[in-house]
Amino acid sequence: MNPAKKKNFKIEPFKHKVEMDPKYAEKTWKILEDAIHEIYNHNASGLSFEELYRNAYNMVLHKYGEKLYSGVVQTMTQHLREIAKIIEGAQGGLFLEELDVKWREHNKSLQMIRDILMYMDRTFVNNFNKTPVHELGLNLWRDHIVRSPQIRDRLLNTLLDLVRRERTGEVINRGLMRNITKMLVELGTNVYQEDFERPFLDAASDFYRLESQQLIETSDCPDYLRKAEKRLNEEIERVAHYLDSKSEPKITQVVEREVIGNRMRLLVEMENSGLISMLIDDKYDDLGRMYNLFRRISTGLQTMRELMTAHLRETGRQLVMDPERLKDPVEFVQRLLDEKDKYDRIIQQSFHNDKMFQNALNSSFEYFINLNIRSPEFISLFVDDKLRKGLKGASEEDVELVLDKVMMLFRYLQEKDVFEKYYKQHLAKRLLSGRTVSDDAERSLIVKLKTECGYQFTSKLEGMFTDMKTSRDTMQGFNATGAGAEGNEGPTLTVQVLTTGSWPTQSGARCNMPTEILAMCDKFKMYYLSTHTGRRLTWQTNMGTADLKATFGDGNKHELNVSTYQMCILCLFNQADRLSYREIEQATDIPAPDLKRSLQSLACVKGKNVLRKEPMSKDISEDDTFVFNDKFSSKFYKVKISTVVAQKESEPEKQETRQKVEEDRKPQIEAAIVRIMKSRRLLDHNNIISEVTKQLQARFMPNPAVIKKRIESLIEREFLERDRMDRKLYRYLA
């Protein structure tokens, strides 16, 4: 209310009659005291608010506020003591209800008293730093009721008992619980926390410790997890229904700790039902549950991951080292792919595609795939098998799927250059024998390899494809000149011209070809060299094939598909019916191991023995004689007798390949060293090793000893020098 403009006027004395002597104060107080009594006895109707308010107002105004305040405190305390007695007297179950009822009544009374004493609250309380009436009321309630010796423990025990009963399955009065806990909260958070929450958490902790102890001895892992989940949800629900929401994280933490945290190791390692058996049996639900529960504990997922990694590595290692499996490379790789698929699915379905688990999976695979040094070879054989016949008739998506999976395994390899070597070999065989299922699939794989490893990796492979195409064009030109076929009786020649750098190097094979063939070959050579000057052509007789029309006894005609070597051998039988091993060897000039192999396929394979061998043993010896088998018969007109299939390498071949790979690596390491030193100028030994490894690890893992040797070789050739002061430092020499 704004006072009016200041004017000079006389302040007239009060018109009020102000009698404020102690006796009046006493009287006024009496009125108020009675009123409070009435309020507490629920007889407030009929009282005049205004009168009481005025009385309180007057008391405070005339400086009797202290008397008023202390009087209020006293009266309320007295009443509360009476109430306390009533509550204490309550029997058994009625205890809580009495408490609840009395609390509500108290609140109501308190509000009324506060309204009357509003003036005091506003002025006196603030000026003298007293507790405002409402808060005062709560504090008094707290001190005289909730914390009174008789009531306090009984209250706590009753509440805890009710919670315990509910945990064992009984139904309790949740509404009542709610009111009581609300009361505690209103009395102050520290009241709630100390008088109730802390003992509640302790009791819960004990309860769950016991329960989990029992459970873990009787149930198996999935069962236990299910129960744990149930308990956890129960507690959360409990908090929502009748506890303060701030308790939720605390109680969940307790449950997590007791039920899961302390039992983690036991659970995952449980025999026949722990993590490992769940993984083996693809128990997606159980695994998902375990993941969700363990996620709540800080080291939970880590424990799971560690165990899974250990298990994976062990199974992988067994898989890879198992001699049985190694017999069939295609099976081997397929098994690896199956394992990967299985775990991918588990991670996707149960572990929510958790990246850490994915990483664990990748690192485990990388670990054990590289345990077996033949892995690159086997993977290449797998691809070969698929591209040769496995993917026959498959749709484009299926093809892509398989190739992508292969790429994934490829990424795990540490020795990618070994893979490259084998792949080149196998691809060459496929292309030359025309056995690839789909050109598109081949190209698609090359593209994938290029994306993964760069142009360098695949340039030669692409060169091979280009050669095939060019050869086709060349053949067309050759045939067009009419020099191809010499009538029906003469042989037809198809030539593939291979660029030496792109194709896997083979030792130059020699062989004496029958004269008819030789004539054709020379014609082609002339034609080719006429169009391309400055090139040299060498016939690779170990890689060719031939189709022969043969007439057997009884007029049986068959078309035989054989290798070039075999063709040479068989043509000899045009002149003679019987030939010894040595004669054949002399006539054809084919190297011994190849000759033996060719003869073996011609004579010793059941159902395809175009030749008969004497003696009829399985192996070829140098004393054997071979006879043309008149009685040869077969269901089919076209018979395939070939030795040019890509196989698992024999020991000596393996050694040879590995040696070649090592040789190839040397210049690569040297190039890397020079590259690094050129930019760094001065570098110490350890750093060189780590930099080189980093650069080359996309292709293979270089051996530090080998790197050291390369460095020394470079020093000899004066690309680098050792620092005079520090033997471990190297300098680049321009």
């Binding site: 209310m1 704004n2 006072p3 009016a4 004017k7 006027f9 302040i11 007239e12 009060f14 018109k15 009020h16 309020i39 407030a44 109707s45 009929g46 009282l47 005049s48 608010f49 205004e50 009168e51 308010y53 005025r54 107002y57 109501k108 509000q111 009324m112 309204d115 509003m118 003036y119 506003r122």
Partner: protein, 101 residues
């Protein structure tokens, strides 16, 4: 705690017995009056909607009521003057203090 709402008006009675009937809306500008009328207790004021002021004289009470309405007008946008006779200033302030306005 449901209490009967007296139909939108309240009665203020001065020391001499004069009755001023004003809107409830106007009355609750005074915090004291507001508490009185909506208290969660069974006070007679809440029940009947009548408040006695045995210590506030009629002219003062009258001025107080005028004040309530002036306040309402101001909150609606009209800016008028509220004139107070200087002689009643002191008593008016006492009443204002009492009524917490």
């Amino acid at each position: 705690m449901a209490f009967p709402r007296k139909n939108e008006t309240v009665k203020l009675v001065s020391a001499e017995g004069f009755e001023f009937i004003i809107d409830r809306k106007a009355a609750v500008i005074s915090n004291t009056l507001r508490n009185m009328l909506s208290s969660a207790g069974n006070f007679s004021e809440t029940e009947l909607g009548v408040v006695n002021f045995p210590e506030i004289s009629t002219p003062i009470l009258e001025k107080v009521c005028q004040y309530f309405y002036w306040f309402l007008q101001c909150s609606n946008g009209k800016k008028t003057d509220f004139h107070i006779e200087p002689e009643m200033t002191l008593e008016l302030m006492m009443a204002a203090n009492y009524l917490h306005t």
